[in-house]
């Protein structure tokens, strides 16, 4: 209430200059909003392009060409007392030759047999072993064709190109067309992509081993990093004295979050495999390595979430005589849980996509058996993608994209779980 205030000149709110300034400010608001919308639009567009291109280039891997043949499982070829020991290779070949009586001579017949996937005889064997009553009968079974013919069926081989520049000769294409005319060719959904383990043959390969490997590695990673991360975060935020040591620890934790992942791989190789003598290529070691990388994320998320719990709740609990641990477990932790879970899922999602450290500990090996525990050799989804991307067969091109789609689906599912959990734990004030 000084004199100067009362002496101030009256403001002319209809002054055109003031109006112009106001209009300029509003234009500024609009510009800021437009920039934000444009940025969001660009991000969405990129994402859409990424997913669309993956699905497009992976689309051929979602189906697999099969040929349906009648296999004569005779009692001479397959011993009844040991069905696994039958001459299935011959049975499979004879079934194919029956459709091409004109093809004679060893080398021609061998070329003809290449239509079928190497896995055909194993599929037939598995079928017979599972049901020995089939011995002595004729079995109708759709078996995958080999990769070049699969490519042909999907229109990826150009029959107009010069014969020496394509993988199939005119004669071979003729054989396949003949099978097509007889209605023996079908292209069902390729469940093998998820149900089969890795294979050198694209038509047989699948992600089963990698899915289990990733699952076990993430399980180990979660079991280590979640409790350790929360305990560390809570201690640092609630109990630790604020001194030079805790400052140092804090700086180092923040730095750890930014350490390149390949360094963690080297560390794991030296310590977990070298010193501790843990098995190579095992999801156990992979999970421990990923836990090292996930820990800083969870610790930082926990601390932020604990810090965000209103002090009034702490006061309320202390005020009725709760001890420090009762305040933490009864009030702070439940209220911080949504934030902690969000951080954990972000950390695990990062871990799921991490490739470099897994390469160093050998989780990029060629393994045709899905792991049955955390100590069995396995691959993980990202390393499987890496292996396939590195493979020369044409069929792996589409399968690499398809595997990335599976990885993304896995990620989306994990995030959905995170959102669900967060909604469940969230409380109303």
């Amino acid at each position: 209430m000084t004199d100067a205030a009362t002496d101030a000149p009256a403001v002319d709110w209809s002054d055109p200059a003031l109006r112009r300034r106001l209009a300029r400010r509003h234009r500024g608001d609009m510009r800021l909003k437009a920039v934000g919308v444009a940025a969001l639009g660009a991000a969405c567009l990129m994402l859409a392009i990424l997913v669309a291109s993956l699905v497009w280039s992976g689309r051929h891997a979602f189906t697999q060409t099969h040929v349906t043949l009648a296999f004569d499982v005779s009692a001479e070829a397959v011993p009844r007392d040991d069905p696994a020991d039958g001459r299935y290779r011959t049975i499979v070949r004879e079934a194919l030759y029956a459709h091409f009586p004109a093809v004679e001579g060893r080398s021609d017949q061998r070329a003809l047999a290449d239509i079928l996937s190497d896995g055909a005889k194993w599929m037939l064997r598995d079928r017979v072993v599972a049901n020995p009553e089939l011995i002595g009968r004729t079995v109708e079974l759709a078996v995958p064709v080999s990769d070049p013919y699969d490519q042909l069926a999907k229109g990826l081989v150009d029959p107009e190109a010069a014969e020496e520049n394509r993988r199939l000769s005119d004669r071979e294409i003729g054989w396949f067309r003949q099978l097509e005319e007889q209605g023996l060719i079908s292209t069902p959904v390729n469940w093998g992509l998820i149900a089969n383990a890795d294979s050198r043959f694209p038509e047989l390969t699948g992600l089963r081993g990698a899915l289990w490997g990733s699952f076990y590695a993430l399980l180990v990673c979660f079991l280590i990093s979640f409790p350790v991360g929360i305990a560390t975060g809570i201690y640092l935020e609630e109990f630790a004295p604020k001194n030079r040591w805790t400052d140092l620890i804090e700086v180092n934790i923040n730095n750890l979050a930014a350490v390149p992942s390949v360094v963690f791989g080297l560390l794991a190789l030296a310590v977990f495999i070298g010193w501790f003598g843990l098995p190579r290529s095992a999801p156990l070691v992979g999970g421990m390595t990923l836990a090292l990388m996930t820990l800083p994320t969870i610790i930082i998320a926990t601390r932020a979430a604990v810090k965000a719990v209103p002090p009034s709740i702490r006061d309320a609990a202390l005020g009725v005589g709760a001890s420090h641990h009762q305040v933490v477990t009864g009030h702070v932790l439940p209220l911080a849980m949504p934030g902690i879970l969000t951080g954990t899922i972000i950390g695990l999602a990062q871990a799921l996509g991490e490739t470099a450290p897994l390469l160093l500990i050998g989780m990029n090996a060629f393994i045709t058996q899905p792991p049955e525990g955390v100590t069995d050799a396995a691959t993980a989804l990202p390393t499987q993608i890496y292996i396939w991307a590195d493979s020369p067969e044409r069929g792996f091109v589409a399968r690499t994209s398809a595997a990335i789609c599976v990885l993304l689906a896995f990620l989306v599912a994990m995030n959905a779980v995170a959102i669900f959990l967060r909604k469940r734990f969230e409380r109303q004030w």
Partner: protein, 269 residues
């Protein structure tokens, strides 16, 4: 000043000497370099309402928080001097702050119910101290506390709905119920009405008046009218020093100190 109301409050107060519940001698509080409370001596009477008044930042809340050792949670805070509850030093090594806080309950400035049900809010203290065993005993304790806090009739049909869903005034009474559920001897109230509307404030003030039959109540308030209405004794704090302490009517009508005079007549603060 609302002189008539002051006198109503005093008239209901039986005259004569009373027992001293809390004795403070030479209490100093330092936050790092800041000297927040300087040499405070005070005797708080049993089963009476004592109010602490003073301008913002004068240390009245800090002193209040010394009485149940809530300042212990602030690492840089150092309390020296002697505070006796029933003749027992509450800063002695043998005293556990958790038990002390059950005996010296606290109600905060902003209503701060737990994000749990009304029932669980009140039952929390008795449960953690093991004062209740079994469902029936807990039910009885919760009902008793809510009745004393004058909230029972309003919430008896919604005991299992969140306490945060109540109105501001109801939330504050819920916090009072929570504080008295552990059967404390002293109730500290740190500006309990500053976030409430006048009607809710009046309700709390009535409640304080009822509660003083059973509890020693210390209330920090910004409102001099409130201090005059609810308290029998008043302490005036200024810049960390307790300037004057005495019977409420005397403080408001005939203070000894010039600073008290200036404050209650609205010259500063």
């Amino acid at each position: 000043m609302t002189v008539t109301m002051e006198h109503e409050a005093i008239n209901r107060q039986p005259a004569g000497s009373r027992d001293v519940k809390i004795t403070a001698r030479g209490v100093n509080v330092r936050y790092g370099e800041t000297h927040a409370i300087k040499d405070v001596d005070v005797d708080i009477l049993d089963r009476a309402v004592t109010s602490f008044i003073g301008p913002s930042g004068c240390g009245k809340s800090t002193f209040l928080r010394c009485l149940n050792r809530m300042n212990d949670t602030i690492p840089i805070c150092r309390v020296t001097g002697e505070i006796l509850l029933d003749g027992e030093d509450i800063y002695a090594r043998s005293v556990d702050p958790a038990l002390l806080r059950a005996r010296v309950g606290m109600v905060f400035q902003k209503p701060n119910p737990f994000p749990k049900s009304v029932y669980d809010n009140v039952a929390y203290g008795p449960r953690i101290h093991g004062l209740v065993a079994g469902r029936g005993e807990t039910d009885a304790t919760v009902e008793r506390a809510l009745r004393r806090a004058g909230l029972w009739e309003e919430v008896k049909d919604r005991l299992h709905q969140p306490g945060t869903g109540l109105s501001g005034g109801q939330q504050q009474r819920l916090c009072i119920a929570r504080a008295i559920a552990t059967e404390p001897e002293v109730l500290l109230m740190d500006e309990p009405c500053s976030a409430l509307d006048p009607i809710a404030t009046a309700r709390i003030e009535e409640l304080i008046d009822e509660l003083r039959e059973n509890y020693t109540i210390i209330i920090v308030t910004h409102s001099m009218q409130q201090a005059a209405r609810v308290s029998q004794r008043t302490a005036f704090f200024h810049l960390g020093v307790m300037v004057e302490y005495g019977e409420t009517p005397k403080i408001f009508t005939n203070p000894d100190d010039k600073r008290t005079q200036d404050y209650i007549t609205g010259r500063f603060g």
